[in-house]
């Protein structure tokens, strides 16, 4: 598969150029590249990328805001995050805001190109670190649920046993193929399980945001 339309957002010119060159050499089309989040949100509708390769730490706006803005301007776009500093709360927030892929900047070129291709195909791109963060987030939600008084409405998502199993194996560095072999599942099923874990978090995040907006009277 070739010809993924990619937009590169990174405030380091050296990186932006390097990434754009690598993508072009691999046969992809770099439709836009910018160094600022606000600029990216402005041009995304006109540039019509399939995938946005986004540096999570931009100087003007937070990663979460950029992702929300990008998805609002072009709902079908997929966001692949890059970060230089490792898996932290910011990465988790970005995933909850709608990013479907995450890579460390130190990832090998082949790994990066593969991630772009998979993100364009709608597959979630997880690092083991991101899987650990997502697992931790579900456990945090479960702990909050346990502390809540009985009878309260419980909109927080939970993982099925199978999803937990799959996510744990991703966090321990196993590839989807290895996981499929170990659990006797198809590659596609493993991928769906991973996707569901993200989808539920993102849906929950949107519900929470809407509820917050209604509570504050911001929905009108």
């Amino acid at each position: 598969m070739s010809g993924v339309r990619v937009m590169v957002v990174d405030d380091h010119p050296m990186w932006r150029e390097g990434v754009a060159r690598d993508l072009a050499e691999a046969g992809h089309q770099v439709v836009a590249s910018c160094g600022e989040g606000r600029q990216a949100i402005r041009v995304v509708a006109a540039a019509r990328p399939d995938v946005v390769v986004l540096d999570l730490q931009l100087p003007d706006v937070s990663g979460v805001e950029v992702i929300r803005g990008l998805l609002a301007a072009r709902p079908e776009v997929r966001v692949l995050m890059l970060s230089a500093s490792g898996e932290q709360q910011g990465v988790l927030d970005a995933v909850k805001a709608g990013a479907t892929g995450y890579l460390l900047k130190s990832a090998a070129l082949a790994e990066f190109l593969d991630a772009v291709r998979r993100t364009a195909a709608g597959e979630p791109v997880f690092t083991p670190g991101l899987a650990g963060l997502v697992l931790g987030e579900y456990r945090r939600l479960a702990a909050v649920r346990e502390r809540a008084p009985a009878g309260t409405e419980d909109p927080a998502p939970r993982l099925t046993e199978r999803e937990t199993e799959v996510l744990r194996l991703v966090a321990k560095g196993m590839s989807y193929k290895q996981i499929a072999e170990r659990l006797g599942l198809s590659h596609r099923t493993v991928q769906n399980h991973v996707q569901n874990t993200l989808g539920k978090l993102q849906l929950h995040n949107r519900v929470e945001l809407t509820r917050y907006a209604i509570e504050r009277g911001l929905d009108g």
């Binding site: 963060l133 456990r139 560095g173």
Partner: protein, 378 residues
Amino acid sequence: MVTHVPAPGGFEVPLWRAVAVFRVASLAYVCVVVLRDADRYAHPLVAGALVLVMAAWTAVTAVGYAAPARRGWPLLLADLGVVVALLLVTPWVMGRPALAAGLPTLTVAWLGGPVLAWAVSGGRRRGAVAALVLGATDLATRGMATPSAINGAILMLLAGVVVGHVARLTVTAGERLQRAVELEAATRERERLARDIHDSVLQVLALVQRRGARLDGEAGELARLAGEQEAALRALISGAGPLPAGTADAPVDLRALLGRYSSATVSLSAPATPVPLPPMTARELAAAAGAALDNVARHGGGRAWVLVEDEGSAVTVSIRDEGPGFTPERLAEAAAQGRLGVAQAIRGRLADLGGTARISATPGSGTEVELTVPRREP
């Protein structure tokens, strides 16, 4: 924001100033009393001279106690001695009839000065000692225990204890504030460094590693080295930072302890929120994980993944690698030779913590060590 923290010992400065103010104020009261009662004293002129002595001593102590270096025993003992001497000559100066008539003694409240000085310098006990010495001298020289004299002595004792207590509290609070400010400054500096490193060095190292990975020979080797440094630096700046001193029993974030094992070949997956454990448990668990990682490195190396999970009632650390590691044959061989292998050492550590270690090798997906420690309810 600039926070002013006095130099060590500087927290007592306001207290010493308050003692000096007390002496000046009580000296003014002494003047009033002596002017009013002088005609009933046996030796009014000597009384006047003694007031001058008190004024001089007030000045000496105000200057003396102002400098931390001079707040030692010589000045404290001299202070107490001067007031005791004044008390001793008081009956002669005032005369028995004046004392018997219930007139206030010459020093009135001024004799409280040394009590406050002792209390500020050394806390409750010193304050109480000075108050007892002066109270006893006062009662003994009067030769009689009038209710007002006893009241005065008890008030002085209470003042000594209370001021001593407050002085200790102030100094402790000041020292805590200073520690907190130092810690905050260190954290800020660390965050600033982390930002700088992130914005410059990490980006460049990652780029060198990426672009160099396609080159052969020495350039490829340089790229690999850059990658290693990038991983080490990333682990360094994403760690939870140094633990504050003086909190030996405070829970420790397990992620911070495991962070130092993360490298170009070891990936660490953990929750975004802290994983608190008692310090002993956290250290032992991290050491067990480290032993498992050492074992990976010894048997051919290769990549390894560490996963930290906080299940509330228990904490689990899993270590997985794709090398030969702990094959069942190797474990059986070690057991047969009666050797305490790495596996046994890890199991032992976990058993000491009341936890369990599960070690398994699955063909095709590597070796896994799973360390689980229960969390005791606080």
